[in-house]
């Protein structure tokens, strides 16, 4: 086990035990780009957004694919959720929206994809959160 691996484990345990499982949020600008609010450095180290591709289906429905990279040297898990908003900034609820758990290999880049629940959606928000914290059974 390298010093880097040990250091990353120690940092992770320290952050988790301190109750720092905050959510990292990536928001589309509506022009193909995105802005990010990263409040959880440990999580960003194992799941950070690398690239975003937006497109439209034939009926005008928005779809998005987001490349997420892990800089970790060990396999990791994280949770993610897509939220959708219309042009007025109103949130569009989806009947099937739920937090999903995802596995990522060391140094791997995976793609998360979603299709907007309605044709009126024009903006997406991707929320990433760490998997269940130790020591807090109801977090």
């Amino acid at each position: 086990m390298t010093i880097r691996t040990l250091a990353s484990h120690a940092l992770g345990i320290l952050l988790l035990s301190a109750g720092c499982n905050t959510t990292n949020t990536y928001t589309s600008t509506g022009k193909g780009g995105y802005t990010s609010v990263v409040t959880n450095g440990w999580l960003a180290y194992k799941a950070t957004v690398d690239n975003v591709r937006e497109g439209r289906l034939d009926d005008g429905t928005m779809k998005v694919q987001i490349d997420v990279r892990s800089d970790q040297l060990n396999p990791q898990r994280f949770n993610y959720l897509f939220e959708w908003y219309d042009a007025q900034g109103m949130k569009i609820d989806s009947a099937t929206a739920t937090w999903q758990n995802r596995f990522i290999k060391p140094q791997e880049t995976i793609t998360l994809g979603a299709v907007a629940p309605t044709r009126t959606c024009s903006r997406w928000v991707l929320k990433l959160s760490d998997e269940k914290q130790p020591f807090t059974p109801n977090n």
């Binding site: 009947a95 099937t96 299709v115 998997e131 059974p137 977090n139």
Partner: protein, 196 residues
């Protein structure tokens, strides 16, 4: 010293065992993950994958009716646990309806079982009163069918269960399967746990 060493674990065990009931976000990450059943988050995840896949192919937007008219066919639960398949199908229906992509018809149902018998009777009476009861009824553009299968295995004390959700859409104008997809959810561990 010796008394403290015994007392602290006992107090911790009591505190851990005395959790009061509380509400949880049904979309959240604090739900129970079970190794012996399909959890609500599994149904939501499978429904999400199916709706995304179905919408992405664009088959519904090419239907004669807009929104497309959908008939619900056979959806089988072939797992070892009992649940209502509406836990999956209703989510798919709601997502398609709210997204303006499909509506479910009551005119033609499996075994002629009407979900809303009063609605069906009212429709028949209206058609009679309007004199349109001899006109052909509106048939669905597509029928939706599916199966939920499972696979259970074990290695030492680690248990694994896989739930396989399979769905198909048949175009009623030519009886062809125009969309199909499969989503597998695998859960592994020694026991059920709170949160993921």
């Amino acid at each position: 010293m010796h008394r403290t060493a015994i007392t602290i674990p006992v107090i911790l065990a009591l505190v851990a065992g005395c959790q009061n009931a509380r509400y949880q976000d049904p979309q959240g990450t604090a739900l129970i993950v079970s190794l012996n059943k399909v959890d609500i988050q599994d149904f939501a995840s499978a429904a999400d994958a199916m709706v995304n896949s179905m919408v992405e192919t664009g088959v519904l937007s090419k239907a004669a009716h807009q929104p497309a008219l959908l008939g619900i066919s056979k959806v089988e639960n072939r797992t070892d646990t009992q649940f209502d398949t509406d836990e999956l199908i209703k989510k798919i229906r709601v997502a398609l309806l709210k997204g303006g992509r499909a509506q479910v018809t009551q005119q033609l149902t499996l075994g002629n079982v009407k979900e809303d018998p009063l609605g069906d009777q009212a429709n028949q009476m209206k058609r009679f009163q309007d004199g349109t009861d001899r006109q052909p009824i509106e048939l669905p553009d597509f029928t939706l069918s599916g199966k939920i299968l499972f696979d259970r295995t074990k290695a030492g004390s680690t248990r694994q269960v896989a739930y396989i959700f399979q769905m198909s859409l048949v175009d009623t104008s030519n009886n062809r399967v125009v969309w199909e997809d499969e989503k597998t959810i695998v859960k592994q561990g020694n026991q059920n746990q709170v949160g993921f």
